[in-house]
């Protein structure tokens, strides 16, 4: 019974990571109707930036917040320089650009920082297991950080003027322009925020999976499964989907398919959702009359 409880708790901890990345994907999807395949690689690059800062002797939390700021800037610059010129291009062009971005960032990360696996520190290091071994300090800490990020993002969109403007620009760009919102900048801001959220996810997962240029590959798949499960156009659904996938993956890994086949769970969820309920659990079903 203890084993089961631990598997669930650990699932929630990794689920938080998936939820963050899923939220980053959904934020960009809502505004552009495209999935940023490079979201994972961008997070990996961010984590390497944090690693270099820590290597250079910065205290962990200084590096943590510094990385968030730098990642935000990278997100904005990527949108302005690479995405904006092709914003009205056909879907296949966009997919091409995103895959190109994935390859460029992934390989640039490897080229700059090398392909050897690195140890990334956890700020929640503690030798003593908490709650009678139910949860490790890092699992608890990273879950709290994830929840704090998700709450902040939610409050930003719910209560601030800028958050409202970003939602308006995503729902209805044409009407948003008519109330004076600079829609182009809202998109850039969305990219910046998605990159910053991804950076936090990267820094929280790196102590568990270790840091290398392909670190986020599997995580992106789980996050994508979570986003689809919750409904790709529903941020709250995506977050819930991320947590669910984390728990499902852990339970399936421990009791059903074994750790080697864990990634299959993500793929099975993706296919299952697309076949049975393409709009996800909480997604909007768009009906159109012909």
């Amino acid at each position: 019974m203890d084993g089961l409880a631990h598997q669930i708790v650990a699932g929630i901890a990794t689920g938080g990571i998936y939820a963050s990345v899923a939220l980053a994907i959904v934020m960009i999807y809502q505004a552009t109707h495209h999935v940023n395949f490079a979201q994972g690689e961008m997070a990996t690059l961010s984590t390497f930036i944090a690693w270099s800062m820590i290597q250079a002797g910065m205290p962990y939390w200084v590096a943590f917040f510094g990385t968030i700021v730098v990642s935000f800037a990278i997100g904005v610059v990527v949108e302005r320089i690479l995405i904006r010129p092709v914003a009205n291009a056909p879907v296949l062009t966009m997919v091409g650009v995103f895959i190109g971005l994935l390859l460029i960032i992934g390989n640039a990360t490897g080229w700059i920082f090398g392909y050897t696996t690195k140890v990334f520190p956890s700020p929640f290091a503690s030798d003593r297991p908490l709650f009678g071994g139910l949860v490790s300090a890092h699992e608890l800490g990273s879950t709290l950080v994830t929840l704090a990020v998700l709450t902040l993002v939610w409050a930003f969109f719910r209560f601030t003027r800028l958050g409202l403007a970003m939602r308006a620009a995503a729902y209805n760009p044409r009407s948003a322009r008519l109330v004076g919102i600079r829609v182009g900048w809202m998109l850039a801001l969305g990219w910046g925020m998605a990159a910053a959220i991804g950076a936090v996810a990267g820094m929280m997962v790196a102590p568990v999976v270790f840091l290398d240029p392909t670190m986020m590959l599997g995580i992106l798949l789980y996050a994508f499964a979570g986003a689809l499960m919750g409904g790709i156009d529903n941020p709250a659904g995506a977050v819930l989907g991320g947590f669910s996938v984390g728990v499902l993956e852990n339970l399936a890994g421990a009791y059903v398919v074994g750790t080697e086949l864990k990634l299959t769970v993500a793929l099975a969820i993706i296919i299952g959702v697309l076949v049975v309920r393409p709009s996800g659990l909480f997604g909007r079903v768009v009906l159109s009359r012909v």
């Binding site: 308006a168 729902y171 044409r174 008519l178 109330v179 004076g180 919102i181």
Partner: protein, 236 residues
Amino acid sequence: MPTLLEVKGLKAGYGPTHVLHGLDFRVDEGGVTALLGANGAGKTTTLRAICGMVRTEGAIDFLGQTLQGRATEDIVRRGIAHVPDGRGTFMELTVEENFRLGAYTRRDREIQADFDRLCGWFPRLKQRWRQQAGTLSGGEQQMLAIARALLLRPKLLLLDEPSFGLAPLIVQEIFGIMRRIRAEAGVGILLVEQNANLALELADLAYLLETGSIVMSGIAAEIRQDEAIRRSYLGY
């Protein structure tokens, strides 16, 4: 009355298709100008052209400054509010959020006072304050669209067929509100309508569009009186 908006030789189109073939018209400060015409005459395109939503040629001067080549959001920030066809409300957001977005460009302290004033004009919106705009009836959505546009505190209001698809009683109510806007807010209005009778009742100046050209223009009251024009152009 001084001129608010002066348009000369306006041409516009979508891609290779030309829709407007050189229009001249004006809106006076605090005045109402009606653009009349059948479907496909180019009325909606004219409004889009003023807002920088389509490519244009010719002169569009607003308060003596050209709007030519400016981005929609910059034109809006100069004080032109547009209620487009399809209304331009944010269906997924609440009535309150639509109000807040209407005042998005403003930094003054009178926003709340304007909310209260508009809720007085549109009591039904007050009742639906926290409801999603998409759940409102057609008439309520039109009211919300007009309220949203007025919250910008515009100098010029562009209205695209405010009577479209609404029941006669609701249309009466909306035109009543427009009379009020005219009297109380001192806003210039460029009104696009298919319902010529209603539009001429409200307007000072009227222009009749046919396939992208102005075929007749004049003082609205005179056009209303002129039976020959009414029969041959307006069909009532």
